[in-house]
C-alpha cells in the first residue's frame, strides 16, 4: 500500500511539469500582457517591469544565450545548459519546485501567489467541504430511499428534486435564497469580514449548500441507479433467504456495494468543489480563490494563472489518489489485487 502511494505521489512531478507547460503555452497565445492597462504606462516603465519579473527573457529556450556562451568559449555542459534554460518557463518551473509560485503581476509584485492561495484557499476549501458533506448526507439517503421505493410517489419527489438541483444554476438558486432570507427572515445578505475567519463559521453553510446542490442531485441519481442494480443481484436474494433483517441487508449488503461508483465520482467532485466557484463567491461575497483565479485571466496575471492551475492540478491528482486508496477499504477484491 505504501509503495502504491509513493508511486502515485511521484507521478505528480511529471503532471505538474506538463500542466505548467500547457498553461504557459496557452497563456502566451492570448494577446496582451500584464502591463496593458486602458491608460498606458510609459514604455520605459514597462521595460523595467519586464526586466524585474524576468519577462524580457525568451519563453522556452534561450538559444541566443546558449550560442553566445559557446562562442565565448564556454564548454562546461552545466553552464551551457544553464544558459539555454535561463528562460521564463524553466526559471518558473525551478521556482515552483522550490515552493515559490512567484509574485502576482496584478499587484506589481506586492503579493506572492502562494500568499494569495494561503489567504483565500481555506475559504474555498470550507465552502467546498460543506458542499460535499451536504451532497453526501442528503444525496445518498435520498437516492437509497427512492431506489427502495422505486416508482412510488417518494421516488418521484426525490427524482424531481434532483432534476431541479441539476437544472437550476447556482446563480439563480443562490440569489433566490439570499433574497428570500433577506425579505422573509430579515437576514442580511452581506457578511462581516470576521464571519469568514473561523473554521466553523455559519457563514459557510449557505454558499456551501448552494454550491453542493448540483453534486447532491448527481449523487442522488447515481446512488439510486446503483442501488437498483445491486438490489437485483443474487447475493441479495441469498442474504434475504438467510433471514437477515431488512436493515442489515440494506446497510451491509446493498448500500456498501452500491457506494463504489458514488465514491468514484465524489473524489473528483470534491476537488472540483473545493477549488472555488467565482459565481458562489461573488453572490455570497466570500473571499475565496475562485474569483481571484478567474479574474487573473483577464488581467494576464501570468504567475497567478499558472500557479493556481498547478495548485488545482495537484489537488485533483491528490483527490484521485485518495479515491483509489478508499476503494481498498470498500472492496476487498481491489485490496488483494494490488
Amino acid at each position: 500500500m505504501l509503495q502504491f502511494i509513493i508511486h502515485r505521489l511521484l507521478w505528480l512531478i511529471p503532471v505538474i511539469i506538463v500542466v505548467a507547460a500547457v498553461t504557459f503555452a496557452l497563456m502566451l497565445r492570448a494577446p496582451g500582457g500584464p502591463w496593458d492597462l486602458e491608460k498606458p504606462m510609459p514604455p520605459s516603465a514597462i521595460e523595467n517591469l519586464n526586466k524585474q519579473f524576468g519577462l524580457d527573457k525568451p519563453v522556452w529556450f534561450d538559444t541566443q544565450g546558449f550560442s553566445d556562451a559557446r562562442d565565448a568559449g564556454v564548454r562546461n555542459p552545466i553552464t551551457l545548459a544553464g544558459e539555454l534554460l535561463d528562460t521564463q518557463f524553466f526559471n518558473y518551473l525551478g521556482r515552483v519546485f522550490r515552493g515559490d509560485l512567484g509574485p502576482t503581476y496584478a499587484s506589481v509584485g506586492s503579493e506572492s501567489v502562494q500568499d494569495v492561495i494561503k489567504d483565500k484557499f481555506p475559504v474555498s476549501l470550507r465552502i467546498g467541504l460543506v458542499a460535499i458533506t451536504f451532497a453526501v448526507l442528503v444525496g445518498i439517503p435520498l437516492g437509497l430511499i427512492s431506489a427502495l421505493r422505486q416508482n412510488t410517489s417518494v421516488d418521484y419527489v426525490c427524482m424531481f428534486l434532483s432534476t431541479l438541483g441539476i437544472a437550476v444554476p447556482t446563480f439563480v438558486s443562490g440569489l433566490i435564497l439570499l433574497i428570500f432570507m433577506s425579505r422573509m427572515l430579515n437576514i442580511s445578505p452581506i457578511r462581516r469580514p470576521d464571519e469568514w475567519h473561523g473554521f466553523f463559521s455559519t457563514a459557510y453553510l449557505l454558499p456551501g449548500m448552494v454550491l453542493g446542490l448540483g453534486t447532491t442531485a448527481y449523487v442522488t441519481r447515481l446512488t439510486r441507479a446503483s442501488v437498483l442494480e445491486i438490489k437485483q443481484q443474487d447475493f441479495i436474494r441469498t442474504a434475504r433467504a438467510k433471514g437477515l433483517s431488512r436493515t442489515n441487508v440494506t446497510i451491509k449488503h446493498i448500500l456498501r456495494n452500491a457506494l463504489l461508483p458514488v465514491i468514484t465520482i465524489i473524489g473528483p467532485a470534491a476537488a472540483d468543489l473545493i477549488t472555488g466557484s467565482i459565481i458562489i463567491e461573488n453572490i455570497f461575497g466570500a473571499p475565496g480563490l475562485g474569483s481571484s483565479f478567474v479574474t487573473s485571466i483577464g488581467k494576464r496575471d501570468y504567475s497567478m494563472l499558472v500557479g493556481v492551475t498547478i495548485f488545482y492540478a495537484s489537488l485533483i491528482a491528490l483527490a484521485n489518489i485518495l479515491v483509489d486508496i478508499s476503494y481498498g477499504f470498500l472492496d476487498p477484491r481491489i485490496r488483494t489485487s494490488r
Partner: protein, 555 residues
C-alpha cells in the same frame, strides 16, 4: 421491524433536506450587521489590486486613498482647485517653477507633524522606476521625472544621478518647490492627485512590498484614517481628529465590496448599506420599484465615450464617412433604452459643465443627413464601402446586445452591413496600441478624466504627439497650436477661450463620433445628508468634495 409506510419514507426524505437546510438558515442569521450610529456604509463593486498611492491608477483604488490622504490641493464642489495641505502656491514669472506653502501645524492622523519633505518623497517615489507604478506619466511635467522613470534601476550610477536631478525639493518644512519642464498653469490641480499623497517612507520600508494592506502603515492626513483592511471584503475608516479642516461629521466610513449589484440592492433594502452603486442592468429594477426610485441619485461623471475609428484606414479616413456614421447614431435611444439610461448623450468632447467645454448640435442624429453625407463621400454610397468590422469588449456580456443594436441602426439607416467582432478586454487593449491594428470601428473608446482641467482632456489625449491620438491617427496642427498656447497661460480668462476653440476644431474633425458622458447611478438611504455629487465622483456621490459635511441620521 415493520415495513415503513409510504408516507413515512417521504417524510424522512423531506426531513433530511429540511434539517440540513434549516440548520443553516437558523445559524446563518447570527451574522446580522451591527449598526453603529454614524458609520456610513458604502457599497463598492471591485476590490482593488493595489492601494498604494504611488502605484495606483484605478478609481476603486483612489476611492480608498482619497479618504485616507490629501494632496497639496483639492477641488471644491464647483471643481475649482482650492488649498488643501498647501495654504497657497505661487509660480515664478515664466510658470516653470511652482512653490507650495504648506499650512502651519499640519499633522498626520496620529498628531505627528507632516512636513514638505513627505510630499517631496511622494513625488520621488512615484517617478522612481523601482516603484513600478501604473501612472508615473502624470508627473512627467516635473523636471527629470520622465528621465528618472526611464532609467534602469540596475545601473546604480545612472539611477542615483537621475534621482538627484529630479526637479522637486523641500527647502524647509513648509515649502515645496516643483520645477516644471514647460509652463504648466494647471499643475496646482495635478498636485491634488493621489501621486502626491504623503505616505511615509519609513512605514513603507517597514512593511515591505505589501505595506499598503496594513492600516497602521497607511498613516494618512486625509479627513478619515484607514483602520481596517479586510482583503476582498471591507475597508474601514474613522474620522481623523487632527484634520486641518476640522473633524468630519461622520464617525467613520466602511467600504463593503460586493460584485453582484442585485445583492447589494437587497442589502440596501434591508438597511445594511447606505449608498449602493447600481449596475446598468439593475437600473430598470430600481427605477420601477416605488420603494427604491425616490432614493436614486443620478449624475453625470467626467468621462466621455466615442465611437472610436481608425483614421488611418479606409473608409474612416474619409471625414464624410465619419459624418455619416455620427449622424446615423441615435444617442438618445442608445442611452435611454439600450443602456437603460446610464449615460447622457453628447456631441462634444469635454463634458458640458467642466472647464473648457462647449455645447454644439453638429453631427447629431439625422438619418437623412447621414445618407446624404455618405453620398457626398469619396465612396458615393454604402454599396462602394469596404467591409466594416465593429469591435467591442466581450468582458461585459451586455455589450453584445448593444453592438447588435448599433450595427442594426447602421444597416437600416445607411444600408451598411457590419461584421461584429467581440473581443476580450485585454486583447482589445493590445489591438489599440498602434494604428496598424487599431480597430476599424470600436464601441467604445473614450476618456475618464484624471483632473478637472481642459489640458487633461485635450493636450493629453488629442495632440499630435499624444499616445492616444497617435494610436488611431488623429493629428491637427491648428488644434495643437491652440492647446499648446493655452497650456502655458496663467490667466483662466485667456486660457479657456483657446481650449474652447480647440474643442470646436475637434467637433468639426469628427475624430470618432462623440456619443455620451458616463453617468453614476446610486441608491442613497434616507438619512444620508450633506453631500453634493460632482463629476469627479465616479464611485459614490460626494466621495471627494463632501467628506466633512456628509452625515447620516438613522431612524
Amino acid at each position: 421491524m415493520g415495513k415503513p409506510a409510504k408516507g413515512r419514507a417521504l417524510l424522512l426524505a423531506i426531513m433530511s433536506i429540511v434539517m440540513v437546510a434549516g440548520g443553516a438558515f437558523m445559524t446563518f442569521g447570527q451574522g446580522a450587521v451591527a449598526q453603529d450610529a454614524k458609520i456610513l456604509r458604502v457599497h463598492q463593486v471591485t476590490f482593488p489590486d493595489i492601494a498604494d498611492p504611488h502605484r495606483a491608477s484605478f478609481s476603486n483604488e483612489i476611492a480608498i486613498l482619497a479618504l485616507n490622504y490629501e494632496g497639496l490641493t483639492r477641488q471644491d464642489s464647483e471643481l475649482n482647485t482650492v488649498p488643501a495641505a498647501a495654504e497657497s502656491w505661487d509660480f515664478n514669472e515664466d510658470l516653470t517653477e511652482l512653490t507650495f506653502h504648506l499650512r502651519a501645524g499640519l499633522t498626520y492622523s496620529d498628531g505627528s507633524p507632516l512636513t514638505a519633505e513627505r510630499f517631496r518623497f511622494a513625488v520621488e517615489r512615484t517617478c522612481d522606476p523601482n516603484t513600478a507604478g501604473q501612472y508615473p506619466s502624470i508627473l512627467f511635467d516635473i523636471v527629470g521625472c520622465a528621465e528618472f522613470n526611464g532609467t534602469d534601476p540596475a545601473d546604480t550610477a545612472a539611477y542615483d544621478a537621475a534621482k538627484a536631478a529630479l526637479g522637486v525639493s523641500a527647502p524647509d518644512d513648509q515649502t515645496l518647490v516643483v520645477n516644471l519642464v514647460a509652463p504648466a498653469p494647471y499643475f496646482p490641480t495635478v498636485a491634488s492627485l493621489w501621486v502626491f499623497y504623503p505616505a511615509q517612507q519609513e512605514l513603507i520600508e517597514q512593511g515591505g512590498e505589501d505595506w499598503w494592506k496594513d492600516p497602521a502603515l497607511q498613516l494618512g492626513n486625509g479627513p478619515f484614517q484607514m483602520t481596517s483592511f479586510d482583503d476582498t471584503l471591507q475597508v474601514g475608516f474613522t474620522a481623523n481628529e487632527y484634520y486641518w479642516g476640522g473633524r468630519a461629521l461622520l464617525d467613520g466610513i466602511e467600504y463593503v465590496y460586493q460584485g453582484e449589484s442585485s445583492i447589494a440592492i437587497e442589502a440596501w433594502r434591508a438597511g445594511d448599506l447606505d449608498i449602493v452603486d447600481v449596475d446598468a442592468a439593475q437600473i430598470p429594477v430600481v427605477t420601477s420599484d416605488p420603494a427604491l426610485s425616490a432614493n436614486v441619485v443620478q449624475y453625470a461623471v467626467a468621462s466621455t465615450y466615442t465611437l472610436s475609428m481608425n483614421l488611418t484606414q479606409a473608409p474612416f479616413d474619409d471625414i464624410k464617412v465619419r459624418e455619416a456614421f455620427s449622424k446615423a447614431f441615435d444617442r438618445e435611444t442608445y442611452c435611454g433604452i439600450i443602456r437603460n439610461g446610464d449615460c447622457t448623450p453628447t456631441l462634444s468632447w469635454i463634458p458640458v459643465g467642466l472647464p473648457g467645454s462647449i455645447e454644439t448640435d453638429l453631427f447629431g442624429f439625422d438619418p437623412e443627413g447621414a445618407v446624404a453625407a455618405l453620398a457626398e463621400s469619396s465612396y458615393g454610397g454604402a454599396e462602394n464601402l469596404p467591409p466594416i468590422t465593429l469591435y467591442f469588449s466581450s468582458n461585459d456580456t451586455a455589450n453584445t446586445a448593444r453592438a447588435e443594436w448599433v450595427a442594426g441602426q447602421f444597416r437600416d439607416i445607411l444600408g451598411v452591413e457590419i461584421t461584429l467582432a467581440p473581443t476580450e478586454g485585454t486583447a482589445l487593449v493590445e489591438l489599440r496600441k498602434e494604428p496598424s491594428t487599431f480597430p476599424q470601428l470600436l464601441l467604445v473608446g473614450g476618456w475618464i478624466q484624471d483632473y478637472p482641467d481642459p489640458q487633461n482632456w485635450l493636450s493629453v489625449y488629442f495632440t499630435c504627439d499624444a499616445t492616444f491620438a497617435q494610436r488611431f491617427g488623429y493629428c491637427n496642427e491648428a488644434f495643437d497650436e491652440l492647446v499648446n498656447q493655452a497650456d502655458q497661460l496663467a490667466d483662466p480668462a485667456e486660457r479657456m477661450p483657446l481650449y474652447q476653440q480647440a474643442s470646436e476644431i475637434l467637433v468639426n474633425d469628427i475624430p470618432g463620433p462623440f456619443l455620451y458622458n458616463g453617468s453614476q447611478v446610486s441608491l442613497v438611504a434616507d438619512g444620508v445628508t450633506g453631500f453634493t455629487a460632482t463629476p469627479l465622483d465616479v464611485e459614490w456621490p460626494g466621495q471627494f468634495t463632501s467628506l466633512l459635511t456628509i452625515d447620516i441620521e438613522r431612524s
